[in-house]
Amino acid sequence: MDFSVVVEYFPRLLEGAWVSVQLVALSVVLGALVALPIALARISQNWWIKGFPYAYIFFFRGTPLLVQIFLVYYGASQFDVVRESFLWPILREPYWCAIIAFTLNTSAYTAEIFRGAIQAIPEGEVEACKVVGMTKAQMYRRVLLPRAFGIVLPAYGNEIILMLKGSALASTITILDLTGMARTIIARTYTPIEIFLAAGGIYLAISMVIIAIFRQVEKRQNRYLGTVSIKVPDKG
């Protein structure tokens, strides 16, 4: 084993890690924006409204992320309409294809997490909104969404870590994320153990940062819960 290659190629690995972080950050933010209306529609009593989110979530949770990436990257270019449309400059870039696939995928999971959180709010608190004469919109804005935000944190932090690990799949469509960069280096140096160990270590470090951030936000957000504290597994 020769760990000098790790030292030599460490800056390249960090470059890859930066791409991974971008992919995760962008798709998580966009995913949350997409997830919110989907979660709200999913809660509706009305079959017309909840049918679409139901199918959406069913599809994206039920198929592998890798298949979804391939569908966007290889699939979209099969259609002339796509290639001739204004979207082509975006859809031709593997980077944006990965972001689109990740966003769609994480939004489905996140929508379910949001829905669970909104439905976990005790019915009495909802009734308290009704009896002061709040409209539905006021109820969501003032009570349900802020409450759900606190409830959602542990599960949501988990989803972001899953997304970080899932982002390694971006390397299959030529993106030089952390995994892609590691494989490129290995192809040159034939040192798979050293480089993959280093890459694994960097993934671990990023996970730990995400966990630490979420623990802080949770502490702040849930301070009003007094004695209740929610533990996040310390596995990194």
Partner: protein, 255 residues
């Protein structure tokens, strides 16, 4: 009294799956009335109270508030509000105090009390703040205004909930077993606040198990049994010489 009642319920029925919980209950509350609703558990008293502002949709009946009949439309087997605007407007003027307080845990005591007047009634913030502090003072909890509900005892939470209700300046206040979730030594502080409200001449409908309290503050007592009004009258009449045998047994076992 020749004046129209503030709140009138006509022939309220409620059926859950196949149990008829309310079998036609009517009630009139005039301004300043304090009406206690008694009955054993399962008599339908809480359900009746919850039907008044449609927390529970009645199966049949009519609700008239300030001479205005609440528009209802059938939805499945029950009735539901036909005009959400009318319902929210009505709810803004009818306070409701829950057995389990139901404060919003992500807001401080002060924010809980200010929420309705500032965001629903859209009153100016400084005015609402002064009023909220005045009300918290009145229920004896002004020193806890920056705390969160979960940091308070049950009795304190219920007093905050009462202040939150008062902040809306409701014309009628409904109390759904406000002391039933409290430890015995905390019941007194909540009843004390409610007694003050009754003395101020507020219109109140109170579902309760606190017999001596009901006897003392009520202008009228209603005894429900198996979904019907079994006995009704002044506290003196209901407690001392009830016509109904059921009512007599109930009172002798609990009071």
């Amino acid at each position: 009294m020749s004046k129209a009642p503030a709140l009138e319920l006509i022939d309220i029925h409620k059926t859950f799956t196949d149990v008829e919980v309310l079998k036609g209950i009517s009630l009139k509350a005039y301004d300043g009335d304090v009406i206690s609703i008694l009955g054993s558990s399962g008599s339908g008293k809480s359900t009746f109270l919850r039907c008044i502002n449609l927390l529970e949709n009645p199966t049949k009946g009519e609700i008239i508030f300030n001479g205005e009949s609440l528009k209802l439309t059938s939805s499945g087997r029950d009735l539901a509000a036909a005009d959400m605007k009318q319902l929210t407007k009505m709810r803004q003027q009818i306070g409701f105090v829950f057995q389990s307080f139901n404060l919003w845990p992500h807001m401080t005591v002060l924010q809980n009390v200010m929420e309705g007047p500032s965001h629903v009634l859209k009153r100016p913030k400084h005015e609402v703040m002064d009023y909220a502090e005045h009300l918290l003072n009145k229920v004896g909890i002004a020193d806890k205004k920056h705390m969160y509900p979960n940091q308070l005892s049950g009795g304190q939470q219920q007093r905050v909930a009462i202040a939150r209700t008062l902040a809306m300046d409701p014309q009628v206040i409904l109390f759904d077993e406000p002391t039933s979730a409290l430890d015995p030594e905390l019941v007194g502080e909540v009843l004390g606040v409610m007694r003050k409200l009754a003395e101020e001449g507020r219109t109140m409908l109170i579902v309760t198990h606190e017999m001596s309290f009901a006897k003392e503050v009520s202008s009228e007592v209603v005894f429900l049994h198996k979904g019907v009004v079994e006995e009704k009258g002044t506290p003196d009449k209901v407690f001392n010489s009830p016509d109904s045998e059921r009512c007599r047994t109930f009172l002798s076992s609990t009071y």
